[in-house]
Amino acid sequence: MLPGLAMGKVVSPEAFLQPGADVAVKKRLADAALNAAKAKGASYADVRIGRYLNQFVVTREEKVQNIVNTESYGVGVRVIANGCWGFAAVVDVNNEAQMAKAAEDAVAIAKANSKLMKEPVQLAPQKGFGEVSWKAPIKKNGFEVPIKEKVDLLLSVNDAAMKNGANYVNSVLFLVNEQKYFASTDGSYIDQDVHRIWPIFNITTIDPKSGKFETRNALSAPMGMGYDYLQANPADKVTGITTRYNMGYDMLEDATAAAKQAKEKLTAKSVEAGKYDLILDPSHLWLTIHESVGHPLELDRVLGYEANFAGTSFATLDKWKSKNFQYGSKQVNLIADKLQVGSLGAVGWDDEGVNTKKWDLVKDGVLVNYQAIRDQAHIIGEKESHGCCYADSWSSVQFQRMPNVSLAAGKTPLSVDEMIKDVKKGIYIIGDGSFSIDQQRYNFQFGGQLFYEIKDGKIVGMLKDVAYQSNTQEFWNSCVQVCDERDYRLGGSFFDGKGQPSQSSAVSHGSSTARFNGVNVINTARKI
């Protein structure tokens, strides 16, 4: 899902280098709101002072199409009064009176909403952390890199693609910096600096005789890293049928390969529909994990809060309570993790002041837990929140969002080559493509970027027009092998949408290459 961004003001890139408000100032402002909320009768209050920076550089072939620089600064105050939530937000806050007013508005809304309330909010207890801070472990801040350097990189990527057979190429660099300050009546004052980066391209090749065209997208991943992600070391590269990337990305190399592969796709064999064993690369499998594991295990979906939009979930509470719901095969261990270094979900504390952690969702194939925040923890008998509450802006209300959800690497040493060796009739899929899943997360269909036919343990050539359809439980139970940790890589979504009005969040999903037996593959070629 790709919702619009609450972008804020357009600024010059130099504005990014100006420091945000000082921590002491933010504490003073936050205290003004917390005190005002308590004075008006709030039993709990939290304040988020946020400065959000975005930079997008957009090019095609030899042209710069757009450079977007935006900054958004403001405050969101959330309270519980009369047992009910209330929220108010103010742009460009700089004095205590504005803070107090926002807090009072939030209390007034809570009190008004409490008239329609059925049950009061039950907030899991959370200790205060005092004055603390967290910074993404970036080596090079992307916002400090001159625009020219970014433009030059993208234009050189485009040039490499064109020289290697592309007819068209579009490339984009996304940079995000969230400077977030959180304070609550629990006694926390948390200052955090979050960075994200996502370099992408899309290459098109055309066969003028047939009028057919093919595309190949970048095999990069959006990461919770700085500009250092674009400086790949040999150790970051996974070689094989095509090079894939781990904690560093060689955009030029990938574009060169992509142009050749997009050309090769034009003459690739159209797949014969039927059952195949699928070997799924982490650059592809992340999206299947996201849609068929990440979303159905969001507790608010399970409870029906998203029924009118994203939907509900097949993973109902009775299945979890049974303690024997076989989500996947014994090989399948799915883990929620807000600590993973370099991931999009990594922070020190979530947006309601809970320290982040790691927990099991599916253990040895059995459903064992969900994703829950402070006002949901009691529903699943937990004493504390999982720490996965997030708001995409100071002006949005924080709510439960997906943590990084990943497939644990296999415990037995196994390489991709060894895995392929045993496959009689299979398809090796690299990169993410088309994706669609039903509103309870049973039936899904996924495409990809690169498809290779496997016959009797060997890759025999490229395929096209491939999509696979399955059912979540059936699919994860058909998982027979997961490669070991040497192959473990992150993929992710930069713009995951949820809620009404829709909010965007970024989340990573890691895995090693995994094998799924007997999956239904369809041929997507049509004539119009």
Binding site: K9, S12, K63, V64, Q65, I67, W85, F87, A89, I109, A112, N113, K118, I147, V151, N167, Y168, T204, I206, P208, K209, S210, G211, K212, F213, T215, L303, G304, Y305, E306, A307, N308, F309, G311, T312, F314, T316, S395, S434, S436, D438, Q439, Q440, R441, Y442, N443, Q445, G447, D465, A467, Q469, Q500, P501, N520, I522, T524, A525, R526, K527, I528
Partner: protein, 438 residues
Amino acid sequence: MAILSKDEAKQIIDKVLAFSKADEVSVGLSGNRTGNIRYARNSVSTSGETTDLSLSVTSVFGKKSGTSTINEFDDASLEKTVRRAEEIARLAPENPEYMPMLGAANFPESKAFADSTAAINPDFRAQAAFNSIDPCVKKNLTAAGYMEDSAGFSAMGNNKGLFGYNKSTSVDFSITVRTADGKGSGYVSRDYNDVSKLNTLAATEIAMQKALASTNTKALEPGKYTVILEPTAGADLLLNMMRSMDARSADEGRSFLGKKGGGTRLGEKLFDERITIYSDPMNAEIPGATYLGDGRPQEKVVWVENGVIKNMSYSRFWAEKQGVKAVPPAGGFIFQGGNESIADLIKGTEKGILVTRFWYIRAVDPQTLLYTGLTRDGTFYIENGQIKYPVKNFRFNESPVIMLNNVEAIGKPVRANGSLVPPLKIRDFTFTSLSDAV
């Protein structure tokens, strides 16, 4: 004050233009008040209201442009914003596709504003939600819904004499009703400029009927079926196609409208001859803006006539390069239809499937406009002119281009998703698998 009058907006824009030292400058000024209410599990979960007023300045030197925005309106702040836009423009790389700004034009006044919608307040929203929740509670059903309303204006002016002003309002409402056992689900969505046309109780009652009627589904084998697509279902697929009418992609050979050997399929008959699709910002049911952000007027455009591609949308740069009129992309579309209702279409169907809604539609192949997605919230089997029983949801893989060649009947268009879309009876619609989802 979020909604400025035409004169108030012009005064501010003229003041900003006077500060400019750039070759070209354009000023955009817009404001709105947006409110929403969301409910689930028969209880309001969130509600809120925001107002916004902001101004953006785009300054141009040669082919270099820069934009700066602000939401403060004192003279010093306005002048500072102009200087900042100029500074950004000087530092920007040259855009070889930059087109000079357009001059003065007379845009007709938009009909997209309704006082009733602009007057919505939190009490109105709460009542609208109550009218939807209350009947569900009484029938032991579960409601989850969302209403969002907006009232605003946008104005633009440049130093070539162009000035435009539009006011608009909108309200979007959607409701999902589920049975207590989770085996039935119904959905209705409505969107209008004028909220006096919205009746959340009436809409909810339809969703309730669908929820109750959709329990105890039977599973049909996936395959090709005659379908009746309700306007909400048809709109989602057809609008995907209409958003792919860009001429440049077609000229470049990477669109369903690209032609083998080069060029576009403009003038080719691509659909059944009963298919005619046009856009018209002055249409009373789906009134829209009368000009585009780049200063081009929005006029009536026929996109498809009797199955033939008549127009494609162009950027100003691409139109000049191709030596054709720069037809702007449209907001909403009008799919011409007949007079038959959904009930009439059902009556005339021997065997078929009624689809309330599609969900999670994604492109599979841009070349053929193949899309996949699923049915949701009310899928029924029709036999001998009557709804016989609810069926399990299907996944489809289908192209609207193929679909519009398999037309059996076209009903009376109604507003759906900002367009006027008829219920459609289509043969050989391709369902590829079953879904257990309710």
